[in-house]
């Protein structure tokens, strides 16, 4: 009972946050609301007994990505274009809401229709529980001796996947360094030689 109450409250807050994000024009406040959205999602994951995922969502979604978006805002500007002072958007070109609305409506209906076939939350007969999950639950302790099954699956059974994920993180770092990284120009004269060093 209390679970349902918490779920409904958290989901309601998620919906309110989404609507607030849509209606706001101040990007600084929107970034803050993104952080709140992530924190609420983390709360939902905790209620669903997935503390590892909640941990990641709270640390990455509410923490790091908020800081990164703020840093990006510092580079650009903190208001949407066309909203310098006035909140009323001027219809500069013909704006037809019906086509996007129809697309969103049809997609949403299709998604809701698709959820009918999804097995209930925690259903023991769901395909996800009957395939390899049973093997993990029965054999993790004897195979690896690691009490946290999530760690065992991530690092040992699915070691290849995690290696790929780390490679993705590493690649993202390299990509950012290539795009906007490198040494900051301290003084005008030294820029060229230092830039050359970086690329070498």
């Amino acid at each position: 009972m209390i679970d349902i109450l918490i779920n409904v409250t958290l989901l309601a807050f998620l919906a309110i946050t989404s609507v607030a994000i849509l209606r706001m024009t101040n990007l600084f406040a929107i970034v803050m609301l993104y952080g709140i959205f992530s924190l609420l999602s983390a709360g939902l994951f905790v209620v669903m007994d997935a503390p590892d995922v909640a941990f990641t969502e709270a640390a990455v979604g509410a923490g790091i990505s908020t800081v990164l978006m703020l840093a990006t805002l510092a580079l650009t500007r903190s208001r949407k274009r066309g909203h310098e002072g006035d909140y009323e958007e001027k219809p500069s070109r013909a704006h037809r809401p019906w086509l996007p609305l129809a697309v969103v409506g049809i997609t949403g209906t299709a998604l809701v229709y698709g959820t009918w076939d999804i097995p209930g939350f925690g259903d023991p007969n769901a395909p996800a529980q009957t395939h390899v999950a049973r093997y993990y639950i029965e054999n993790t302790m004897s195979d690896t001796g690691v009490p946290n099954m999530v760690t065992a699956v991530l690092a040992s059974y699915r070691g290849f996947d995690t290696l790929g994920e780390v490679a993705v993180v590493f690649t993202a770092g390299v990509a950012v360094l290539l795009l906007i990284g490198g040494r900051r120009p301290k003084s005008g004269a030294k820029v060229k030689s230092e830039g050359g060093e970086d690329e070498a």
């Binding site: 923490g63 790091i64 195979d143 001796g145 690691v146 690092a155 040992s156 994920e165 780390v166 950012v176």
Partner: protein
């Protein structure tokens, strides 16, 4: 940067706690929730907090950018290297059972090393991202 006494005192008190918590999440990931990825993010959050309060230059003095690049590569190489070691010991790639005297000891060692590699890479990449973004707007 304008000195702010409250921020300085509070963050100096918090940053060691955050780093200890990151290490706890890192090495206790076998037993509780968490693991290398979360620990790396928490560790980088401590450094980012330091950078926010004390300025980017002070933070880059603690962990210079070239060290971060080496660390990011090292973590990935550590992960992949564990797999190569298991290959050389005659097992499949990333099959940790041959690393220790027993299967469970080998799995423990393998998971520990692999999670350490994940943590190092994630922490370094997060800091690289932050330093790249925060250092961009300055001259």
């Amino acid at each position: 940067m304008k000195p702010n006494l409250i921020l300085h005192v509070v963050s100096k008190f918090l940053i060691p706690l955050i780093i200890v918590f990151a290490l706890y999440v890192q090495f206790h990931g076998d037993f509780g929730p968490g693991g290398g990825f979360q620990a790396g993010v928490i560790f980088s959050a401590a450094i980012i907090l330091y950078a926010l309060v004390f300025g980017l230059d002070a933070a880059e003095k603690i962990i210079p950018s070239h060290v971060l690049r080496i660390l990011a590569s090292f973590g990935l190489l550590l992960y992949a290297g564990v797999g190569v070691v298991t290959l050389l010991l005659g097992a499949n790639y990333l099959d940790y059972s041959v690393l220790g005297s027993t299967q469970i000891a080998g799995q423990h060692l393998g998971i520990l090393l692999v999670e350490l590699g994940v943590g190092i890479t994630v922490a370094a990449v997060m800091l690289i991202l932050y330093f790249a973004f925060a250092g961009r707007g300055r001259t």
